[in-house]
């Protein structure tokens, strides 16, 4: 059976600090560039890039290596691919290789499959069991599909990973509870404020992260929600999705940020801006004007939207993605049982998926065999039709018998000739014996059945090297003849 050519190279929150992950978070433009450069270097290689705030992972599969001939059970050598991908990541993020290499993780074959399953299920997430990652995996798969970099291997892999993650989360109860990044952030806000019906929430950014967080926050019914975004239409769309009345929700221009910060009690920043949008210099003059009301800033963006120095200001509580780590460790204990069940489901699914990859090779063989036989049948059918058109009616039976004989001979010619050649040439006849045994098994060539059905017989000379392969015709057919191509 051919070894699965699958490689995963990347970094995640376990191996790389926030500063490094920030640099490696690829925006749309960087993703395009990545796919383009990768296509230049690796041609038809299947590839999916998964880039989130907590991980940047590349899944790679070589179609030619996946169809390696039988008997090559060892894993394909991916050393060059790993080097290329690391180099590429370094170039795109302007990172020194010395910084990058210690954080790089590499998984191959079944390990890579298991890793993706864990990622999709949220078991590898910073906030354990979070649902957001599943959407991000789906999105990465869709983007790669649009770029036509998904082939037979990655298609099966990602489809199975997404499907398994969905069912595992539902079956084990992982889907229940407040465990997304947004919900944990909201829990921090609730630890500072007792009530929200007199509070103002400001959302900077109107993307998916902002939407999820605001959904959690809207259950607390804040007095006012102000949304600002580079694209006001997107901010308006988000406001509509949250179903807020004009008194409760409002879209503001980004120019009014200072005014919004003055009114805000909770700020949620989740834009894709490269530079910090909120700095200590901005906040400091506002503190007195805010009458020292506490200000909670939740920075869910990567690169960070808020300068970390803001946290040192009095009455300001800043939380970024890494700050959720402490909550995760607590969550881990509470969810231990669910994790155990989920891991069991994932392990079973990984085995099934690997089995599917193996069967995928058999499927390809079957498809190719069918195509070849159909082509042979079609050629013979054309010849027979032509003969019947110009033949006398009494010759029709003979023509049909000839058609059958020719077709069978054509089908069996190559395999039986190969078997014969192996038997004649090889001093070690183990291959010939293997072939013979396979044929006995595949065609169910039992002596008893052969007599009963009177189809074929393969006579094997016991004790000798030579195997005489002949086709035994039916009673009504012509005498036995040696195989030829017809």
């Amino acid at each position: 059976m051919a070894a699965l050519s699958l490689l995963m190279v990347g970094i995640n929150h376990r191996t790389a600090p926030l500063e490094l992950r920030e640099r490696l978070t690829l925006n749309e433009q960087a993703r395009d560039e990545f796919y383009r450069v990768l296509a230049q270097h690796l041609g038809q290689t299947e590839c999916i890039l998964l880039s989130t705030c907590n991980r940047t992972e590349i899944y790679l599969s070589h179609p030619d290596q996946s169809q390696a001939p039988a008997g090559t059970d060892s894993l394909p050598d991916h050393h060059d691919d790993v080097q290329l991908l690391v180099k590429l990541l370094g170039q795109i993020s302007n990172l020194d290789m010395d910084c990058l290499l210690p954080a790089i993780i590499v998984n191959e074959g079944e390990q890579a499959v298991a890793h993706l399953f864990r990622v999709a299920c949220g078991l590898d997430s910073m906030v354990l069991g979070e649902a957001q990652i599943l959407g991000q995996v789906k999105r990465a798969y869709e983007v790669a599909q649009q770029r036509k970099t998904v082939g037979a291997v990655l298609h099966v892999l990602f489809q199975r990973a997404i499907g398994t993650a969905k069912s595992a989360r539902t079956d084990t109860g992982m889907a229940r509870g407040r465990i997304s990044v947004g919900s944990v952030a909201v829990d921090f806000a609730r630890q500072i404020f007792e009530r929200f019906d007199d509070k103002t929430v400001v959302a900077i950014g109107a993307g998916e992260v902002a939407k999820l967080t605001l959904r959690h926050l809207s259950t607390l019914q804040p007095a006012r929600l102000l949304i600002t975004n580079r694209s006001l239409s997107r901010a308006n769309a988000l406001l509509e999705q949250l179903a807020l009345t004009p008194e409760k929700g409002e879209v503001r221009s980004f120019d009014q940020l200072e005014e919004m910060l003055l009114a805000a009690d909770v700020v949620i920043a989740s834009t894709s801006a490269d530079q910090p949008l909120i700095t200590p210099q901005q906040i400091k003059p506002l503190l007195r004007r805010r009458r020292h009301r506490p200000l909670v800033i939740i920075d869910l963006a990567l690169p960070r939207n808020v300068d970390p120095a803001v946290h040192s200001l009095p009455d300001v509580y800043l939380y970024n993605l890494d700050d959720l780590q402490s909550v995760i460790s607590e969550t881990f204990q509470y969810r231990e049982q669910q994790i155990k069940q989920c891991t069991e489901i994932l392990n079973r699914s990984v085995v099934l998926c690997m089995h599917e990859f193996e069967n995928r090779d058999i499927g390809q063989v079957i498809r190719a065999l069918r195509q070849k036989l159909h082509a042979l049948g079609y050629d013979e059918q054309k010849r027979t039709t032509r003969k019947i058109a110009s033949a006398n009616p009494q010759d029709i039976d003979r023509i049909i018998q000839e058609h059958s004989r020719r077709l069978i001979n054509k089908i069996l010619h190559l395999p039986l000739a190969t078997l014969d050649r192996q038997n004649r040439l090889g001093s070690d006849d183990s291959t010939a014996e293997d072939y013979t045994r396979t044929l006995w098994q595949l065609f169910d060539l039992d002596d008893h059945k052969t007599k009963d059905h009177e189809i074929y017989s393969i006579k094997r000379k016991q004790g000798g090297k030579h195997i005489d392969v002949s086709v035994i015709p039916s009673k009504s057919d012509t005498p036995a003849s040696s195989v030829d191509s017809g």
Binding site: R190, Q191, Y317, E330
Partner: protein
């Protein structure tokens, strides 16, 4: 005999309160998934509240009526504060500020330990002659009760804030109230305590001015007790106005509520220390050793 029993029971209650404080402190630092620590803490607190209450009733019944009266001696006053404090904390915790008992228990331990000392020193009743003395004592003792609650809330505020600033979830073993709720409790209890303290001090002032020969002497306004009492009043005056003076909210209010309680204890200590040296006590009759409390009336 009642004094001996009181001392023994106070010692037991103090020990139980100390154990409950330790359990509460462990719960603040460690996750309590099994709930054993929570149950233990609640049981100990329940015993303490019930115990102090029963001891108070015991003293009501067994101490001769002509001697005992509420706030009649310092040990009874402290016992009353401890009972009301524990009950009030339980009520506040259930109503709005979860986790307050963890911070109130050390204070309860101090109050009970203080009661042991007071019971050992002075079982003799106060000489309460006028309505001003009664009003003064009631105002000051009940004011102190609210200040104790405010101080417990202040400690809780500082703890939660510190955890949040370190990006940690406050109290992994138990849910703690929000900063906002804790700050509101500080403000409310301080406001109530301040009103009662002001009332008590005004009554004390009237008492001193009206009485020609007080234990404080002719220059009573220079006595440490009066100066410290004025200082405490001033601190609470600031604290209770923190909502309007924006510079004194949150952390500052929490610190001031703690400092205020420490000063109240300091006044008691100073007054007790000076009591034996204070020679002119003409208004107190009998040859008994007259109990001296924080307010010395």
């Amino acid at each position: 005999m009642p004094e001996f029993i009181t001392s023994i029971l106070l010692a037991i209650l103090t020990a139980l309160s100390l154990v409950a404080s330790t359990v509460a402190a462990v719960r603040l630092r460690k996750d309590d998934t099994s709930g054993v620590l929570r149950r233990l803490q609640h049981a100990l607190l329940g015993i303490c509240v019930t115990g102090t209450g029963l001891l108070f009733v015991y003293r009501t019944i067994y101490v001769p009526p002509q001697v005992w009266q509420p706030l009649g001696s310092h040990v009874d006053g402290l016992l009353l504060i401890a009972t009301l404090f524990a009950a009030a904390v339980l009520f506040v915790q259930r109503a709005s500020v979860q986790g307050l008992t963890a911070f109130a228990l050390p204070l309860l331990t101090i109050l009970l330990a203080w009661s042991i000392c007071a019971s050992a020193w002075t079982y003799e009743p106060f000489k309460i002659e006028s309505v001003w003395t009664k009003a003064h004592k009631a105002g000051v003792y009940l004011g102190s009760l609210f200040f104790c609650i405010a101080a417990a809330a202040g400690m809780m505020y500082l703890y939660i804030q510190r955890r949040l600033q370190r990006h940690q979830r406050p109290g992994p073993g138990q849910h703690l109230a929000s900063l906002e709720a804790t700050e509101q409790l500080i403000i409310r209890t301080t406001t109530l305590g301040f009103a009662l303290l002001t009332f008590g001090l005004v009554c004390g002032l009237i008492l001193v001015v009206d009485t020609p020969h007080t234990s404080l002497g002719p220059t009573w306004w220079l006595s440490p007790k009066v100066i410290l009492a004025a200082l405490v009043w001033l601190i609470y005056a600031i604290v209770m106005n923190v909502r309007f003076a924006t510079a004194f909210r949150g952390t500052r209010a929490a610190w001031l509520s703690i400092v205020g309680v420490i000063l109240i204890m300091a006044i008691f200590g100073v007054v007790n220390t000076l009591s034996d040296e204070d020679e002119d006590q003409p208004q107190f009759v009998d040859n008994k050793k007259i109990e001296v409390d924080a307010w010395r009336h």
